[in-house]
Every structure is written in C-alpha cells, then in structure tokens.
Amino acid sequence: MRGLRHLALLGLILAVSAPTARAETPAVWGLGALMHTLAGVRAASGTFTETKTLALLKTPLHSSGTLRYVAPDYLNETVLTPARADFVLQNGVATLTANGQTHEFSLGQAPQVAGLVGGIRDTLAGDAPALRSAYTIALSGGPQDWQLVLRPKDPGVRTILNWLSIRGSGAHVTEIESGGAHGDLTQTTVHETLADAP
C-alpha cells in the first residue's frame, strides 16, 4: 500500500508541478492562471442539456434543467425534464429531492457522489489545493478554449467515476463530461446566461 501511495504521490507531483511552475511566471498561461480566473466568479447560472449513455439503458437518457453556482460552495442543479429532481450542494452537504423524497448526506460520507459534484464545485471555485488532493489533473488548450481532465485518486470513487472533463472559455464553463463504470458516459452542455465576474 505504501508503494502505491508513493506512486500516486509521484503522479500527483508530475501532474501538477509543471503547470504550477509555469503559473509563477505570469506570461505563461496554466492551471494557476485558470484557477485564478475561475476564483474571480462570484455567481453564475444557466441552463443545461445532458445526455447519459448508460449500460443499464437501451437508449440514451436525455435531460435538461437549470444550474446555479454561488461562490465558493453553493451548487444547485435542477432537472426539469424528464422528471423533476432538485440537487443542492451547500457547505459540503448534498440534498437530493426527487420522487417526493428528500435525501441528505455529507459529501464526506458519500464519496461516490463527491467525486463528480465535488470536482465541479472545486473547479468553479478555482480551488487548486482541493482539486490536487482528490484528483490527478491534466490541463490542455488555452485561455479561451481550455479542458481540465480530472482523475479521482480514491479507489472507491474510481469504481463509479473514471474521469471528469470540464471544458470552458475564459471564466465560463461550457461542457462537462464524465466517464463511469461499464463505459457509462455523461455529456452535459452548459449555456451560461448570467455570470457575475469582476
């Protein structure tokens, strides 16, 4: 186990040291600069359309709804079609209201959910240390067309979430994709309607 941990640590250093090193020189765009840009957004909201391709289902599942983010740790996703489901993440506590039932749990106790929504929240908040502690990070593209690929380090989380990709332009997130077990794939397109950036 110790060896594995060292390996993970090494991977982490390799994954993040290069971008941070570059971030120290302001002329070169990198993770530090992206995080800085994103951290400047105080609130954002928009609509989304999502397509889930799951091993359980014969046909992809299409859904749509609204998104709202308030820095640093409020995230709301309301699914309007095909059926209403309300998801709120606040102060590390997730609340899901669907089918007339409300479920509440701490992200810490539900690492499977934390892997996905925690990664999105920490990206929106521009919280590099939080991302580094939970994921190996790969950044590509440029300031106007970036892609952040997050791979969870926790083996428990990896049984459900293999990777998470967030694309964006400047301080705006435009697309979120995630890959799970059995080749499950979720693609979300975000149409930001309002952003409160400095």
Binding site: V79, A98, S106, Q112, T186
Partner: protein, 780 residues
C-alpha cells in the same frame, strides 16, 4: 472517680461499633442517588435518559494539535486499538469500513426493514412507478451512484432505508482520509459507545482509561504526533469528573477545615490534650452519623459525607461552650451543670431544625438531615456524659479571653451597630420584596459541578458530529417486546404525516431498527415468487429505456429474502442492537420505550395529535419542561423544609424559654441575619435550592449563639466574658469550616458553605448587637 469511666467505656464501645458499620458501608457519588424517586412515566424517562439511556453511553472525542492528515491517522489508529477492548461496543470515526457490517446487514434485510415492501410494490404497475423514479434519479448528479445498486434494488429500498436509519439526525461531519474532521479541520472527531451505562462510574472510568492508554500508544507509534491532544466528553466523562471533584473536594476541604478549627482551639486552650478532648464529641458524632445513615439508607452519599465537614462547626460548639466557659478555679463538671440547660435547648433546636429534612423526598436532603441529627445527638451526649470527667482538673482556657475581644469592642458601640443593622435589614427587606419572582436560579446546568468550558466542549462536539439535541420524546410502557414494537409501528403512522407537515424533522423508533415479527412476516409474504416477479418485471420494463435482463440480482435477492429467517434482537449488528436497547429498556416485568423526536418545530401540534391518534398510554415528553418541573419541586420542597424547620425551632424555644421576650431576644437577631444573608446572596446572583438548606443551618447554629447571649448568668461579669469568648470561638470555627466549603466547585457544597459562613457571622453580629449585657451596661 471509678464511676465516671463507665460512660467513657460505653462511649468507646459504641464508637467502635459505629466505626465498623461506617467502614463496611457502601459510598456512592452518583448525582441521581441524590435526587427524588421517579414516580411518573415522564420522570422515569428523565431518569432513564439522564443515567442509563442510550445517550448516557455515548462518548465524544476530539483529537487536536496536529495537521489534518496526522489527526486522521491518529483517529484511525485509536479506533483500531479501542475496538479491541470489550469496554467499548462501537467506534464511529468516519471510517467507511467500520460501517460496512451495518450497511451489509441493512442491505441483506432490506425487504424486512422497509415499509415500502407491500404486495402492490411488486405488481407490474408498482414496478413501473419504481422504474420511473429510477430514471429521475439517474438523470440527477446522483445518477452514477444510483446506477450501481439499481440492478439489485430497482425499488430503491436501500436509499430510503439509509435516510430512515439516519434517524433524522442529519448528515455526519466532513470526512477526510477516512476520518471525521471538524469544519475548521483542526480536530478529528470520534463517537464511541461504551458497554456500561453512564451511571456505572467505575466502568466509565475504566473505559476512559482504556481510551487514554490507547491514545498514548497511537501517538507514540506515529511521528509528528507528539503535540496531539485528546479530549473526551459525554455523560460518562461528566460522571467520572463529578466523582473525582467530589472526592478531591471532600478530602481536601475536610482536612483544611479541621486544620483551621484546630488552630483556633490551640490558641484558645493552649493544651494539646484538651484540644483532643474537644474533638471527641465531633469524632463520635461523625462516626455515629455515618453509621446511622448507612443503616437507614443502605449507602452513604459522598455529598452527605462532605456535609459531615460542616458537623465540625456545629458539634465542635458543644465542647467549646463547655471548655471555654469554665471559670478560673472552677471545674468542668460544675460548668456543665451551669450551662447544660442552655446547651441542651440549643442542641434540641438544632436537632428539631434538621429533623424536618428527614421528611424530604429528596434523598440527599433526607440523608443530610439524618446525618446531622444523629451526629448532634451523639456529640451532645458525649459532651454531657463523657467529656467533663476527662477534662484535667484545674483546666482553664487561657487564650480564650483574647478571642472574645472583638465582641467586647462591638458591644461598646452597641447603639450605633443597632442603628446600622436596622437600616440594613430594612433595605434588605425592601430589596427582597421588590426582587421576588426572578430570585431562583432555574438553570439545571448550574447545579452541575462541571466548568462551563466542559459543557461548551460537549455542545460543540455534539453539533459537529451531527448528534441532535434531544429534548422531546415519546414514551410508553409495553408488556412484551413484540407489543412494544407494534405500538411503535402505530406511532410511526402518526409521526410520519407530521414530518411531512414539518412539525418535526425526524424521529427514531424501535420498529425502525427492528419491525415487529408480524410486520416482518407480512413483508416477507408480500414478496412474489420468482415466476410472477419475472413476468411483472418484464411487463413493467417494456415501455422504459431499461434493458431487459439487467435485473437478475433483484430476482435473486427477492428469492433469497423469501426463504430468509426474520430478524430478532439477537441478530442485529452491535450498532443497531445498541440503538434498540437505548430506546427499549426493561422496566419491572415489562418494557419502557423512549423514542427521541428530532427538530421539533411545533410541539403543541405534536402534543395534540399524539393525544388524539397515538395508542393509549403514549406520552409526549418535553425533557426541558420535566427538568424544570423537577427543579421547581426541589425549590418548593427546600422552602417548605426551611419554613417548617424554623417553626419547629420557634416552638422549641417557646417551650424551653417560657418567655415571649426571651424568645424574641433569640429569634429576632436570627431572623435579621437570615434576611441580610438572603439579600446579600441575591445581590450577586440567584438563589439555589442548596442555599435554602443553608438558611436552615443558619437558624440552627445562630439560635445557639443567641441562646448564650440571652442566658441568665447571675450578673457575673467574668461568666459573661467567658460566654462571649466561647460564642466567638464557636463562630470562628464555623465560619472557617463553611467558608472553606464555599471554595468547592460542587454547587451543593459551595452554596451551603457560602450561605452558612455569611449567615452565622451575621447571627453573631446581630446577636451581640441586640444582647443585654449584665447590669444593663456594656461589658468593660
């Protein structure tokens, strides 16, 4: 002189007997033993919750003083070690592995546990609704997690059970590296359940020792953890701390009080031998008192024993009066003959005052009463029958005269002191009469000996661990366990709509953990056979996006559940078993059920609905109201005791003095002193019930002083001087002993000590100010 050794020999034999009884007596420190016996269901609930309920077994720990990863590692290491000890049933520290046993039990028995298992849930229509719900879940951010359990649990039983079994207790704390952390990340949090209930102090002390030892080992095995610190809180910690404080205070203060009294007596007597003789009535009194309480109650409470310290002040007076009032050239026998009528009346009034405490429902008051009565009788008896013969011939308390000097000074300015006292008493009366209503301290926590910091730590850890504060309960009696579970299920159907209406956030009930056998059997019978289920599932899946054939695990699990045995109390895993035990307690031949309600927003609505819809005998309990009611009973009782005691003292004075004027001369100064004391105490806070017991003591002790101030002594100036010296010496010893008690952190000792020290001193001042010295002029 041969004849005089008979009482001494008898006294020695009795003292030895008492010493044997006292040595064999059990001593208790539990505060619950000091409280009145519970009569109503609500009182029993309070009792059970305070001293033996599930809540009493919970210990909360925090580890601080290291970076978060080290704290998490310490938390895991401590948990692993502590789990091996039988004193600890269960450790929760955020480690998912630790919960695995319980999760797998709930998963395996989900068809027996879930109220959603009904025949209509497994028809084609019922399954279709379930699959629609699943689609909604899948399209939420929870989808990926839901997809995991869906093939085995398309009806979503596990998810609703997880929420249900969280008991409305909300979400847990943050988890990092497999350990719970406080929101600021500076403390690792753990929750432990001990095998022994909170009132079993020895077992709790052992459990705490195990935790400390294992923490030291965990810290020692880890580098960089040297500065880490462990703090524990919870009812068990409180019980152990209270006992330790009681023991320490009682021992330390007894020794200090004795030392103080001995110093004053040495100054007065200038003879170690007479000093020892002077202690004889106290020693015999203490032995007799302990033996009497032990025989009458079967145990002696530590607080009662602590109160024995006060006996030094009271019983010491008798030998002081005898030894100090002996005139030069006189002997102890003749002195006794002279002062005995006054001494006897004084002892009788004290005993009468303490006797009223025997009537109390409050076990503690009754023990204190008996302790004092038995001790005073023994001390007075020894002073009367044993002491005079033992005092060396020609003994004269040479140093006493100087001790009386302050009193003589006061008497010279008697007129001015009288005016000052009259003004002060009038002001005190006005203050007390306008102050009424808010004079009582209604906060039960203030009776606890624990420092505010300990209580604050407890509240913070409870909040951070998401343990809901339990104030409201439903309680009922049931004859058998199945009966208890059936009533619990009926209650569930009353409470659930109230949760929907937001009258409360959640509740825990025994039937949530273990449904009744009848309900379990009905749920098992609701499961269709494999062929029916397969057909229904096929029909339900037809017009949904779900693939056929993915629900194999569901078919398998239903088939298994149809053949599985029902759950019994014995088959529950430890955390659930403990949870059941914390709600269902054996009581007499049946069971007492006590189920907590969380986040109650509308207690009035709950009370009404439960009264209308719940099965007969179910009671809605507000614990705060119960403890406030209990406190009011104490207050009422303490005031009654003080009033009845004062009347008894007055009646005795009337019978003994046979003169209204002389009764007034004794009672007047005492009443003035009590008024002044009450006003002084309310200046700086509120009155506690213990202070009222203190007032009774002021009356008992102060009336003795005033009796000697008022006693006829044939206009002999020398006898007057000796009387003044003896009263002053007696008061010095009393103020020293009670003043020391006021240093105790135990509210009972502190409050009584403070009250009596102030009150008896004021009795001395008032008694002297309103006394009539011989010849009607101040003493020289």
């Amino acid at each position: 002189m041969r004849r005089s050794w008979l009482p001494a020999g008898l006294c020695l034999a009795l003292a030895l007997l008492c010493a044997v009884i006292a040595a064999r007596s059990p001593y208790r420190t539990d505060m619950a033993d000091f409280l009145p016996h519970a009569h109503s269901l609500a009182q029993k609930a309070l009792d059970a919750q305070v001293s033996s309920g599930g809540a009493s077994r919970i210990l909360l720990l925090q580890i601080t003083g290291a970076p978060a990863p080290t704290l998490a590692a310490l938390s895991r290491s401590l948990s692993d070690r502590v789990r091996r000890d039988p004193a600890i049933v269960d450790v929760l520290n955020g480690d998912g592995e630790a919960m695995a046993g319980m999760r797998s039990f709930v998963w395996r028995n989900r068809f027996l546990l879930s109220a959603n298992v009904r025949p209509q849930s497994f028809t084609a229509a019922g399954l279709h609704i379930a699959l629609d719900h699943d689609l909604a879940l899948l399209s939420s951010p929870f989808g990926a997690a839901a997809a995991q359990s869906l093939p085995a649990d398309p009806t979503g039983l596990a998810l609703s059970l997880a929420q249900r079994l969280a008991g409305g207790g909300g979400h847990g704390p943050l988890t990092e590296d497999g350990a719970w952390l406080s929101p600021d990340g500076k403390a690792a949090l753990l929750l432990l359940r001990t095998r022994a209930p909170g009132f079993d102090i020895d077992a709790q002390a052992h459990a705490l020792h195990v935790i400390d030892r294992d923490f030291a080992a965990a810290r020692g095995s880890m580098s960089g953890a040297g500065g880490a610190r462990l703090q524990a809180t919870g009812p068990g910690v409180f019980a152990v701390d209270t006992r330790d404080i009681t023991r320490r205070d009682v021992t330390r203060l007894s020794i200090l009080a004795s030392a103080g009294a001995i110093l004053f007596l040495l100054i007065a007597y200038r003879s170690p031998r007479v000093l020892l003789l002077g202690l004889l009535p106290v020693a015999c009194g203490a032995l007799a008192a302990t033996a009497a309480v032990s025989l009458a109650f079967g145990f002696v409470h530590a607080i009662t024993l602590g109160f024995g310290v006060t006996l030094i002040g009271e019983a010491m007076d008798y030998s002081i009066y005898l030894l100090t009032q002996t005139l030069r050239g006189d002997d102890a026998g003749r002195t006794l003959a002279r002062i005995w009528p006054t001494l006897r009346l004084g002892a009788l009034t004290s005993i009468a005052g303490f006797c009223t405490m025997l009537l109390s429902d409050f076990t503690g008051f009754a023990q204190l009463g008996l302790f004092s009565v038995a001790g005073l009788i023994a001390a007075a008896g020894v002073t009367r029958f044993v002491l005079p013969a033992l005092v060396p011939a020609g003994f004269f308390a040479r140093g006493a005269d100087g001790i009386g000097a302050p009193l003589r000074l006061l008497l010279r300015g008697q007129q001015q002191v009288r005016v000052l006292l009259a003004v002060l008493v009038a002001a005190s009366l006005v203050a007390l009469l306008t102050h009424r209503g808010s004079m009582w301290d209604d906060n039960l926590l203030n009776l606890s000996p624990l420092p505010a910091a300990a209580q604050a730590l407890d509240q913070r850890l409870s909040r951070e661990l998401g343990i809901p504060g339990t104030r409201y309960f439903v309680a009922y009696h049931a004859e058998g366990l199945q009966n208890a579970l059936t009533i619990s299920e009926q209650l569930q159907s009353v409470l659930e709509p109230l949760v929907q209406q937001k009258a409360l956030a959640g509740y825990d009930l025994p039937s949530l953990v273990l449904p009744s056998e009848r309900t379990q059997a009905a749920r098992r019978a609701a499961l269709p056979d494999a062929a029916t289920l397969r057909a229904n599932l096929a029909a339900a899946t037809a017009d949904t996006p779900f693939r056929m054939g993915i629900f194999g695990p569901f078919l398998e699990d239903v088939a298994k559940a149809r053949a599985a045995p029902l759950m019994t109390p014995a088959s529950l895993p430890p955390p659930l078993s403990l949870r059941l035990q914390s709600m269902v307690m054996p009581e007499g031949r049946g069971w007492l059920v006590l189920a907590p309600l969380h986040g109650v927003a509308d207690p009035a609505l709950l009370r009404t609905r439960l009264a209308a819809e719940a099965p007969r005998g179910v009671v809605f309990i507000d614990l705060n109201q119960q403890s406030a009611a209990l406190l009011h009973t104490f207050q009422h009782e303490a005031v009654m005791l003080a009033v009845v005691g004062s009347i008894a003292v007055l009646l005795l004075l009337c019978a003994g003095l046979r003169s209204l004027r002389r009764v007034m001369a004794v009672a007047g100064p005492v009443a003035a002193a009590v008024t002044l004391t009450a006003a002084a105490l309310t200046l700086d806070g509120k009155l506690s019930i213990f202070m009222v017991a203190g007032f009774l003591l002021i009356v008992a002790l102060g009336s003795n002083y005033c009796l000697f101030f008022a006693a006829r002594r044939g206009d002999e100036p020398e006898a007057w001087r000796r009387a003044l010296a003896s009263i002053m010496l007696a008061n010095l010893c009393t103020v020293a002993a009670y003043g020391l008690l006021s240093l105790s952190r135990l509210p009972v000792l502190h409050d009584i000590g403070m009250t009596v020290a102030i009150g008896t001193f004021l009795c001395l001042v008032c008694g002297a100010a309103f006394s009539a010295p011989p010849d009607g002029r101040p003493a020289p």
